[in-house]
Amino acid sequence: MSSNLEVEPGAASESVLVTTDSFDNFDHMSSSLEEIKNLNALAENDSNVENSNVENFDEISENLSINNEEDDFVQSKEWACKNKHVFVLSMAGKPIYSRYGNEDKLAWLFGVMQTLVSFVQSNEDTIRSIHAGDTKFVFLIKKPLILVAVSRTQESVNQLCSQLNYVFNQIASVLTLTRLNKIYEQRQNYDLRRLLAGVERLIDHLLDFSEKEPSFTLGAVQCLSLASSVRDNISSAIVGACSKIKNLVFAILLANNKLITLVRMKKYCLHPADLHLIFNLVQASESLKTAESWTPLCLPRFDASGFLYGHVSYLAEDCQACLLLLTVERDVFFALSEAKQRIVEKLRRSNCLEAINESLSAKEETCIVAGFPELRHYLYKCKSTAQFYQPSLTPPYTKYNERLTKLYKRAHNLLHCSTRPLKLLFEKNSDEAILAWDTRGFELYVVFEPLIDTNSAINSVGRLLNWIKKREEKLFHLNAPTF
């Protein structure tokens, strides 16, 4: 099978996002913050005052009142039957997070997990997964933490591992990796939960999010469909308003889980995994809608060692797109607040707010409307830009979204498994047919009506790629604007 396209849809000469495949490691971790600051090294000699109130390593001896309800829950069938448990513990075996149930009630379990990990490590080996019946135990050891998934979903070990990685990144994102390491260097037995108070919410949300959203499986981001002239206008409004502000690293505008635009400092790119954490934060924090906020934020793939500061606000009452202005300066809130006002004024004058609202309320076309009645749904990912596109859901998947997610995850795994990855997959069963195709430039997953034959499927795919190509300017963020 071949497509007659010269360049795959959605490809661009320069990408707004980092497009390395590796999602797992900080191996290539940049220390971008250092670089940016050094660039502007006005030789501000900071005497690094250790603020003693800040780092108080004394644990709270909060006597957690033993609550019988909680006891019952972790011993209940309901708890045991959860599809996927996720646990986080320290190398010393201290509980940090449990997706379901109170960690304190599960001390025994954390003990077992820690013992397993250290037993295998004592043999200079690393435990990765254990398979028992239809249950997978997946371990991710990211010093100083251990992350464990116990899953009865059909997700592969790699996919589970990637979710655990996200959980780790979420923790690094609120503390920075440097601080996390430092804490455990000073006290192996530290109870991290005090510092992570409130972060459980973010992790819970992230796990739900990563189970549902194809963006996580694909390692890509979906853009809000906009005429390219509108997107360019928005980008230049941002560039114009921010050009005089030094050390602004990223400006990100998003709405409804989709990227509208991303403007970046020359030389620096954003990794989709970092962008996913930002989407998660915005989605999980309704309170951001009430006022302008100012928050430290570590983007672990960008630089796990330090914080960026973010001015976060929604554009307007009548336009619910969220703007994040991320800088390395900690005291420029008011400058950014003014810049935001200028951006909004410009967007209003050029009718861009309206265009954003229109696109938000008009859903993406369904396959039928787009002229592909034999197609039910698809995911198209352009590899070189780490962006993907999907049409709106239609029945039966509006009701059985989970089934669709499962189909995609399974196909994705067959294309990416480490042993024998497929390039092309076509499967039929009584409910549907799925075609998955991995090429150099793109990945495509298409779900068809069950009765389709191979030839028509291939035919459709060719037409579909042309359809996407024709609309690529609207469906993808092809320019990579910089400040």
């Binding site: 913050l33 108070a197 928050t295």
Partner: protein, 224 residues
Amino acid sequence: MKTIVGKVVVLGHQGVGKTSTVIRYVENSFSQHITPTVGASFFSCKLLIDDITVKLQIWDTAGQERFKAMAPMFYRNANAALIVFDITLRQSFESMQGWVFELKQNVDNPMVLCVVGNKSDLAKNRQVNRDEAIQYAKSIGATYHECSAMHDQGVGLVFDDVARGLIRLLGNSSDHNLKVYDSENIDNIMANSSELEATDTGKEETVNLSINSIAHGNTVKKCC
């Protein structure tokens, strides 16, 4: 006619209702489903007291432990601090005392202090005695108010009190850093925000906290 611009920082344990109280005052609304504050949020509002316009620039900080290191950024230049606790949670009363201690240690310029016991609608679950709270407030030179952001009881009085406190501060002390304008048009003042900014950042630099130290108490080193 005079206009005073005062900066107010709102501090207190997570979940005591800081954001709810501010939103009740500024927007007269309340939501059960409000999520924890991320970093800090900025609000502004104005009050008319006698014939003085008092404009409040409010920094509503997050109570979560991980944001604690950020607080100095907001209280260093503040003219008033609202320190909020939840009357149904003893622990929040105690952690409030930690905040007061920190303020006394780190802030030199005079400041209006206001202790607020929120969630008075849940008085039947009270864990902090009213007299004890009044006593405590007195001992640190603060006023004490109980309020319910949920039932809109007593919230107005809190901010009224802050505004009056700022006016008194203006009259009584010389080393306040309140901004005073002899203008009626508050919008002009807002438009002139570069001035606000200069003060905001100017002061900040003297305390010598860089992104590194504010963020995690030491220098950023490359790891791995």
